[in-house]
Amino acid sequence: MGIAGGRVAHGSFGEIGYLAPILLFVLLFALLPVAILFERGWIDGGGAGMFYDTVWREATNRIALFNSLEQGALSAAIAFALGYPAGVFLARYTFPGRATARSFLLLPFLLPTVVVVIGILDLFGPGGWISSAVPVLSWFGEGVPGIVLANLVFNVPLVVLYTALGCESASGDLEESARTLGATPARVYRDVWAGPSLVGASVGVVLTFVFSALAFASPIMICGPRCYTLEAQVYALSSTFLQPTAASLLALAAVLILLVPIVGYVVLANRLKHRDSRGPIRPRPLSRSGWIGRSLAAEATLVFAGIAAVLITVLGRSISPVDGGGFGAGWSDLVSARTTATLGVPIARVIVNTFGFALFAAAATFVLVLLAALALRSRPRWEGGISAYLFLPLLVSPVLLAFSLAEFWRPILGGETTVWILIGISQAILALPFALQSLRVPLAGLSPAPSEAARTLGASRWTAFWDADVPRIGSGIVTAGLFAFAIGLGEFTATYFLYVPSFTTLSVAVYTLQRERFTDATAGAAALLLVVSLVVFAAVVWAGRTRGRHRA
């Protein structure tokens, strides 16, 4: 085997065959339905004039647009203020528990949105632990402040993570050279690592803006219609007001508006990826730092403690009485007749549904990502194009995805009994970009030598991949599957759009119980979902560390 023009020489189109399933999956279950939805909306709605009328002249839609921009901008600004110092601290200092703190940053990717919203309400909402003690702080349990606070729980870790990556992309050799040339720490910051760290933080800030502008669970659970984002308004138009044309035009507007920050994200992330980082920065021990290091440490501790407090509250509420029940009322109410009546199915069925969909998403993602890895392994030059293609589902918000799947596939598949397929597919589509991301790093660092040696010893392409490559990227593939499983477990938006009572999942159950003000059962369901998510999170971290050991 030899290298020809940058690709590993092969004599067949086998790689295209390995890639076809993932390409077709995204095409058939994301891009095509969305394109057809937009096309129908545009034609049925009467084109550009109707587009303008729907998006701008209809007051509720205009308010949703303003809400999206307001909540996105506020969340992004505060996430930067809180996340940047903590990111700098994580990248530039060593301290006991640093690896655990880094792992903790993955949690927002896996944390169910409804759990966080319940945690915020348990702390600051009516009867919340903090709002009961300090009533003035109940301000954070309602309206925009509450929504922004919920957004921050997810997104501050994102800014922390990307800031740390930005800091680490600066050249350690350049920093040390500047120091020995007489540059003060402030000058070294300005000349060497301010740029990369701010590029990193900007990636996190842009993502925060996009995720917050498209938030769904927090506006509908904390505030209601007056705070609806574009995402929530699309849902309301399509499901509540039964105006699919207006909903599809508004969804198109959301995609177009958010295209700018998303392109910005791609540009910034690319800049971050291609920085010259020869000679990595060498973090210094916290014990040797001055007041700056200690201040950063204190700020980072507050950020992590704040997030942990939300999660601990969810667990605490499930065992402390709220509605007058006894110790552990949250858990015992889960199996009560009232809960079953409210949800339409017993909680055991809800749990089976939740795991079933998550397993479906994980299995589909695992197979698709494994095949994609095999293809990219042989054709590394395709990686950029394939990644860009698989990034496209990120442009499709969960409501838009569910809406388009329902419009396109439900008539083809038939009645309600096939809804489970669409729920599983939507969860797999939403997990794919993240799952593939977890494979990019191990794939990028994979030496072709063992697999080439296997081929020269007579192994087929598949055997060489299985024997030589999979052991080295196996934990990456497992992480991808676990990621998909975790995202499926907590996915709320698309599932809520598509579900019928017999296919209720835990996150939908949490929302339904909260809407019906069944407080203890809500706490129990949220705690159950959190515990399961934390177990999967621990498995993801474990798989990641195993990968680290293999690479070492």
Partner: protein
């Protein structure tokens, strides 16, 4: 030696729980060029980083012109550092890179420009002022890095394997230019390398570091004449051979492989071939030691696997002393 410019006393450093520097004592005179040699992992770079102020030792003292700088931040020491990676500012021109230190020292723009232009002249890079750093070859970038360090007007420059990433044909020229530029300014230097030819060629004095300790220190001539311990002799490329009750160091060019019956030692021939403009034969002694002999290119060696005798001339008797941790003969497999 005149009064030392830089003095390192009883320096210890522990990194990740391992003792990396163990009681280092070292003086550097004004204008002196000291080559600090040793194998990978011997602690050379850690010593340099402690002197530069990039790492703090766990014990000991570093002084510059009698002033204790052990805990002084790197930017206040007046000690320059050059790494194997030139680490130029990516978005600045050559002149802006070299003028960096004068500008940090708040001299005027015109004065900074003059200092930078002079420094570029010292490293023979006139006419490169406006080029971006990325457009230069590795050797040119390393010259810019030296000019940048010189422009900071340091009293000492630390060179951490600056030629490691340079092509061999450019390396020789660069060595001479670096040495000349530093001498012209009277700047003292500590040059870290694991390349013994480079260290012996460049150093006014040579220090050999093994296992975090300086095992030998002297001029190249002194060191080659009296390698001291077996470990140092082995690092300097000598064969370390038993001779009666003594252990001797023998230069490979003073070593011969002869008939088994005629040798002072018996050995088994392992390999032979040309290295540069010489021919090299390698054998394994009875106790596993590696024995190398060098001759002219036409030299004929015994066949691989043959039993041979080893003879030598000009042996240097090694001090018996306490055995070094690295004194165990490397076994040839």
């Amino acid at each position: 030696m005149r009064d030392p410019l830089l003095r390192v006393e009883r320096l210890d450093a522990i990194v990740d729980g391992l003792s990396v520097l163990d009681g280092i004592d070292l003086d550097l005179g004004p204008g002196e060029f000291l080559a600090l040699m040793g194998p990978n992992g011997s602690g050379k770079t850690t010593l340099l980083r402690c002197i530069a102020g990039l790492e703090w030792p766990t014990a000991g003292r570093i002084s510059l012109l009698g002033r204790d700088i052990t805990r002084l931040p790197a930017h206040r020491r007046g000690i320059g550092l050059l790494l194997s990676e030139p680490a130029l500012f990516p978005n600045r021109s050559v002149l802006e890179n070299v003028a960096y230190a004068p500008l940090v020292q708040r001299v005027s723009d015109s004065e900074a420009r003059r200092i930078a232009t002079d420094a570029l002249g010292e490293v023979r890079l006139e006419g490169f002022e406006d080029r971006p750093g990325y457009a230069l070859s590795m050797g040119e970038r390393q010259r810019v890095a030296l000019a940048r360090a010189i422009a900071a007007r340091p009293q000492v420059i630390l060179l951490d394997e600056p030629f490691a990433a340079i092509d061999p044909e450019v390396r020789g020229e660069l060595r001479g230019d670096f040495r000349r530029a530093l001498s012209a300014r009277g700047i003292s230097a500590i040059h870290v390398t694991h390349d013994r030819e480079e260290g012996l060629f460049l150093g006014d004095r040579v220090a050999v570091m093994l296992d975090g300790r300086i095992r030998a220190l002297g001029t190249p001539t002194e060191l080659l004449a009296v390698p001291g311990s077996a470990a140092v002799a082995r690092f300097l490329g000598f064969n370390v051979l038993p001779s009666g009750d003594q252990v001797v160091a023998v230069d490979p060019s003073d070593t011969q492989f002869v008939d088994a019956a005629e040798g002072l030692l018996s050995a088994e021939m392992l390999a032979s071939g040309a290295v540069g403009r010489e021919s090299v034969g390698i054998a394994r002694g009875r106790s596993g030691e590696r024995i190398e002999a060098r001759g002219h290119l036409e030299q004929r060696w015994p066949a691989v696997g043959a039993s041979v005798g080893v003879r030598w001339t000009n042996p240097k008797v090694l001090s018996p002393g306490r055995p070094d941790r690295t004194d165990a003969s490397p076994k040839v497999r």
